[in-house]
């Protein structure tokens, strides 16, 4: 593989890792607070649709982003209502949210645009344009470093940079602030947080809403930056890969970045090379598709390091009387 191909593969790795990273951090906040969320996929999908629909109607991508985030927050509120207020099963609630999004997006899209469950294609103004970093063109001819700067680092949409900045921000919020300390505590031992006079319900709702915000951005990125418009089921399992990355990263922000880049790389390679030949052995493209899931199962099984989820995860908190 020559240098330019390598740069191109890494460039699409960054593009493909971005939605995973945003969704993964979303799940990180929620699960660190003790709320399992397998509805990441649904929230992303809902946000993808509403961001594309509003961007197509108004011609303003920022309004689209806001609409995407708002729709994702509504689903987050629903998840909170079911799993925090009514102490229902968080996994079942997540499953319901995924189906709700899969159905509603097509239903509304058909009613709104009559294009068989898709939105019209987005043109300039309705899309996030690539952002050229300063001197990118001037430095393009410098050997090695030039292409890295102008091809790999420059030329992404603003949401990509936002996603990567979200990693240190998440690390700082979780491990450097009082809110973060409480948020982690509520996922490990909610009774202790309650005894300290801090609202378990309030903290968990806050975490679920941050999750909705990040999923909203992830969905908007899919429909208005990575692609130009919404198509049915366009998240294509990314929410579950993000969930896999979260487990892979053992619920830690910097590890999440690594896991998402790895899974993004797998997707980029699978997209670019159909069957990979190593000597006489051929790795089929299906193997590349399944690899994130297989790796996650292996990690979960504890054969390569043990992934221990937050202790109170999945359990509704019942105040003892």
């Amino acid at each position: 593989m020559d240098f330019l191909t390598l740069i191109q593969v890494l460039d699409s790795t960054v593009r493909l890792a971005t939605p995973l990273l945003l969704a993964c951090l979303a799940g990180l906040f929620s699960e660190r607070a003790g709320i399992f969320d397998i509805g990441l996929e649904g929230k992303m999908l809902m946000a993808a649709f509403f961001s594309a629909a509003v961007a197509a109607t108004t011609g303003n991508v920022w309004l689209g982003l806001l609409a995407g985030i708002a729709s994702s927050l509504v689903l987050s509120g629903l998840h909170g209502l079911a799993s925090i207020t009514f102490r229902g099963n968080q996994l079942i609630s997540g499953v319901a949210i995924n189906f709700l999004a899969a159905g509603m997006t097509v239903l509304i899209a058909q009613d709104w645009f009559q294009q068989g469950g898709r939105t019209p294609s987005l043109f300039s103004g309705g899309r996030f344009e690539p952002l050229n970093l300063p001197f990118a063109d001037a430095l393009a001819d410098v050997p090695v470093l030039g292409p890295i700067y102008s091809e790999l680092l420059s030329g992404h949409s603003v949401l990509v940079y936002l996603a990567f900045l979200a990693v240190p921000a998440t690390a700082w919020i979780l491990f450097g602030t009082r809110f973060g300390l409480r948020l982690r505590a509520v996922g490990e031992n909610p009774a202790a947080v309650d005894t300290a006079g801090v609202s378990v319900v309030g903290l968990r709702y806050a975490a679920v809403m941050i999750c909705g915000l990040l999923c909203g951005i992830a969905g908007a990125y899919l429909a208005t930056a990575l692609q130009a418009g919404f198509v049915k089921d366009m998240t294509a399992g990314r929410g579950f890969i993000a969930l896999a990355a979260l487990i892979f990263a053992k619920w830690r922000p910097w590890h999440a970045l690594g896991a998402c880049l790895l899974f993004g790389l797998l997707q980029a390679v699978a997209l670019r090379f159909q069957n990979i030949e190593i000597g006489t052995f051929v790795i089929p493209v299906q193997m590349m598709d399944a690899l994130p899931y297989i790796l996650t199962v292996v990690i979960l099984a504890g054969f390569v390091g043990k992934a221990v989820p937050p202790k109170a995860g999945g359990e509704p908190y019942v105040k003892e009387r």
Binding site: I38, L78, L81, A82, S83, F86, R87, G88, N89, Q90, L91, I92, S93, V95, A96, I97, N98, F99, L100, A102, G103, M104, V106, L107, I108, Q110, D111, Q114, G117, G237, F240, L243, A244, I247, P284, Q286, M287, D289, A290, Y293, I294, T296, V297, L300, A301, G302, P309
Partner: protein, 364 residues
């Protein structure tokens, strides 16, 4: 003492949840500018108004019976098996191998062995998550989700590279031989003088599914194993104290669950398509979750819920055909049913319990 009489728990709560889901679905239909009453009329006449409609309703119901029972059996052991979709896909592979590579003299023999093959493949696919849960403590929900995706990749590989007939571009197996053709309800009912639509895909697998319902009922409520599964599901520690092995129960419950999900393939692969195609399950594995939740994991409840979802599926198809309401309406209804009967259970239960307590106090 229970806060509510048993009938309220078994009948009233699911009924109220269902009504709530129906009201919201009607609002959704209103929201996209269609008439909900006309939509219901169209669904009823399309799904139940003719033997053709019934034939499709029962065909879908057969799929949902198998996957609903699969989720139910796991539920009894408090295992949430989201992997029905993957297990049913692999079940299809089992059916295809049995039908393609063994020359069967008669469909009845083929059906028995295809069922075994399907159950074996489905159970094998459930065995790995079950083992990882029982022995390594990895969460069964997450692993079964991952296994759905892995199953899709495996099936894709097998159909594209191994089972695709020479010269065909379609990622699918060859057609099954004529001898393994399962009789449709039309062929079964004609000799006893009942006219049934020729075109509908409902077939003898429906009877197998009903048999599976009875078998699951016997297993859960009439055998020692069933008792152990329920005991384990009620209280892991209590069961442990009574000498019930968690590893054994987890493994057995998931193997049965996966086997049932796999057996769905006798209906959709062997009974209808008569060849294995990509995405032959069409989401039936996931509908099983809604069916099991609504049926309260009881085989009779599962039966009713499966018929209801069969009706919704066929009615939804008719809606999509005659109005501008897309088929995805069923997915929304499915989501609402799961939401209300599963996740928001306490929202309905809480007020009801208060009402019953107040009534009882009034009487005393």
């Amino acid at each position: 003492m229970d806060k509510m009489p048993k009938w309220a728990d078994v009948v009233l709560i699911p009924l109220i949840s269902l009504i709530l889901a129906a009201i919201l679905s009607a609002l959704v239909i209103l929201g996209i500018g269609e008439d909900p009453i006309a939509a219901v009329n169209l669904m009823v006449s399309g799904a139940l108004g003719s033997t053709y409609g019934w034939g499709y309703t029962l065909y879908y119901a057969t799929n949902f019976l198998f996957t609903g029972l699969a989720v139910s059996v796991a539920f009894h052991a408090r295992l949430f098996n989201i992997g029905g979709e993957g297990q049913a896909m692999l079940g299809g592979l089992g059916v295809a191998l049995v039908c393609l590579y063994i020359p069967w003299p008669h469909w009845s023999l083929a059906l028995i062995f295809a069922s075994l093959g399907a159950a074996l493949f489905g159970a094998a696919w459930a065995a790995i998550p079950a083992y990882l849960q029982a022995k390594r403590g990895s969460h069964i929900v997450i692993t079964t989700i991952m296994f759905n995706f892995i199953a899709a990749a495996v099936l894709n590989y097998v159909l594209v590279n191994l089972l695709r007939p020479e010269g065909s571009m379609d990622p699918a197996t060859a057609r099954f031989p004529e001898a393994v053709h399962l009789p449709s309800l039309h062929e079964l009912l004609a000799p006893i003088g009942i006219e049934f639509s020729k075109a509908a895909p409902a077939n003898v697998s429906f009877l197998v599914a009903v048999g599976a319902c009875i078998a699951v009922w016997l297993l859960i409520w009439r055998t020692k194993l069933g008792y152990e599964i329920r005991a384990y599901g009620n209280s892991e520690y209590g069961a442990l104290y009574a000498g019930i092995s968690p590893v054994k129960i987890t493994m057995i419950a998931m193997l049965i669950s996966g086997g049932l999900a796999g057996m769905m393939a006798t209906n959709n692969v062997m009974g209808e398509a008569e060849r294995l195609v990509l995405n032959s399950t069409e989401g039936a594995g996931f509908i099983g979750i809604a069916v099991a939740l609504m049926g309260r994991s009881h085989p009779f409840g599962v039966f009713l819920a499966a018929i209801l979802f069969g009706f919704l599926y066929q009615g939804g198809a008719e809606l999509a055909l005659w109005t501008s309401i897309p088929r995805e309406l069923i997915v929304v209804i499915q989501a609402l049913v799961i939401l209300f009967t599963g996740a928001l259970d306490n929202m309905v239960r809480g007020p009801l319990e208060r009402i019953f307590l107040a009534l009882r106090r009034g009487k005393a």
